[in-house]
């Protein structure tokens, strides 16, 4: 049966279904409803977990590491500045190989202060060694959190995961969501059995110790292998999830791509708008396809190379930007397709700080992309920005 849930509630229900043992937290817009719900679940006796309010996100993720080391299944939630404050500890969680799962309400970063949606917060954490998933809908948010536990806790992986839900567009918007049965989730996830435990007097060990130049690189190579393994494990877990729950997931989802000359690549909630826009345009005879990126780390290189073979132009829709380069997804796609003459890859920076991504936005993207079919166009295209006002002030 489907229930009307906001994205944050989806995340909270997923944590409850995963029977997390510990939830360390510090609230931040737009993900505050997640800890609110967890605290209610714990107070009502619906969830047997430790709810730990801390003095900052830095402490929240640190507590998550401590709890995970003891063998607890740990979840937490944050966004934007909160995730940025966790930054240095994120490396420690992945370096110590702890399968913590975090729900993110994808939000812009200051300055200027802005609480609305873009992907800058998680993109900025790209190199921290966490797996990254992006949800299109609240259902995907719930499902991806559940699957993230199974992938992260897999003995071949042992890496933490973050699952992004677009701020407000998903976190605060009601959608019909199927909440799976507890018994089926129990069967799917099983119990978390850590490799090592702290405070185990029978098997004493040192955690978080020094790694000299003689040893450090080996641990980083291990993380490289774990990310490669994660790529296979993700496929396995997605398949098992589909068998058990009937919902299909893949690292990249191709729609209308078979005969397409132009392909849009999207991440997150704007995929829905892109899909409807493409359906409309296909009725006019335009051969446009869509690729939704659900997994950003590990980056699905092989899948993209296969999907983009024979395509003429790719429009990468970036809801983030790496100053001094362009969109981050664009950069990854460009690197993935390096050495191949086709397709031409064009970057579109859209929807930063919660600016709506509408049919008009995609109309402008398509216009430039179609020009790209014939001749040359700008590499990085900022869409729906008052360029004149900015350029005057920047003395250009």
């Amino acid at each position: 049966m489907k229930t009307m849930l906001r994205g944050n509630e989806s995340v909270a229900y997923a944590f409850k279904l995963a029977r997390i043992d510990v939830f360390p937290m510090f609230p931040i817009t737009p993900s505050t409803l997640v800890p609110e719900m967890i605290s209610k679940f714990v107070a009502n006796g619906e969830l047997d977990a430790e709810f730990i309010p801390l003095d900052s996100e830095h402490s929240a993720i640190s507590a998550a590491i401590g709890a995970s080391l003891k063998g607890a299944r740990v979840g937490t939630a944050t966004a934007s500045q909160g995730l940025a404050l966790m930054h240095e500890i994120l490396f420690i969680a992945s370096g110590m190989r702890l399968p913590i799962v975090m729900g993110i309400g994808n939000r812009a970063l200051s300055a200027p202060i802005n609480i609305w949606c873009d992907h800058q917060d998680t993109i900025a954490q790209r190199d921290t060694g966490w797996l990254q998933f992006y949800a299109e809908s609240n259902q995907e948010g719930l499902d991806l959190i559940l699957m993230a536990f199974k992938i992260s806790e897999d003995k071949r992986v042992l890496l933490p995961s973050m699952v992004g839900l677009d701020a407000f567009v998903l976190t605060h918007t009601m959608e019909p969501v199927d909440i799976p049965e507890q018994s089926k989730v129990d069967e799917f996830l099983g119990e978390f059995k850590p490799n090592y435990r702290i405070l185990d007097t029978k098997n004493p060990a040192t955690f978080g110790a020094f790694g000299s130049p003689r040893h450090y690189m080996e641990f980083k190579y291990a993380q490289h292998l774990a990310m490669q393994a994660a790529s296979h494990v993700i496929d396995e877990v997605f398949e098992e999830f589909e068998r058990k729950f009937g919902r299909k997931y893949s690292k990249i989802t191709e729609e209308f791509t078979e005969d397409a000359d132009i392909v849009f690549i999207t991440m997150g909630s704007c995929t829905g708008t892109a899909r409807e826009f493409i359906k409309m345009k296909r009725k006019e005879g335009k051969k446009i396809g869509l690729i939704k990126l659900t997994v950003f780390r590990p980056f699905p290189k092989d899948e993209l190379r296969k999907a983009l073979k024979g395509k003429k132009v790719v429009a990468v829709v970036d809801r983030n930007f790496s100053p001094g380069f362009g969109g981050a997804v664009y950069g990854e796609v460009l690197a993935t397709m390096y050495g191949r003459d086709e397709p031409k890859i064009i970057d579109f920076i859209v929807g930063l700080g919660g600016r709506d991504i509408t049919f008009d936005t995609f109309e402008k993207i398509l216009e430039i992309t179609e020009k790209g079919l014939e001749g040359s166009v700008e590499e990085i295209n900022w869409i729906e920005v008052d360029k004149e006002a900015v350029e005057k002030e920047e003395m250009i």
């Binding site: 060990a205 000299s212 040893h215 080996e218």
Partner: protein, 100 residues
Amino acid sequence: MKITRGAVVEEAGNSIENKTGTWRTFKPIIDYNKCIRCMVCWEFCPEPSIYKEDGSEKPAPNEALKKLPVPVIDYDYCKGCGICVNECPVKAIEFVKEVK
């Protein structure tokens, strides 16, 4: 160090494998003809990489002192901080540039 997942150290006391003596720029050398076996250097060594040697046949300022334990520097771990040189009450420790 055994390579484990998450850099967990499984065996206790394995820091002994990390020979910190290579960090040294200056090397303390005890002149046993001056050393009065007071063990002040042994007490102050922060590492600690000065140990007591019993029944040593090292020379001494006089016959009586030969019966006492002798401080010996373990150069595998001495980082050359120079605290022993500074603390020695009879200036029996020389501090010379490390030659490698």
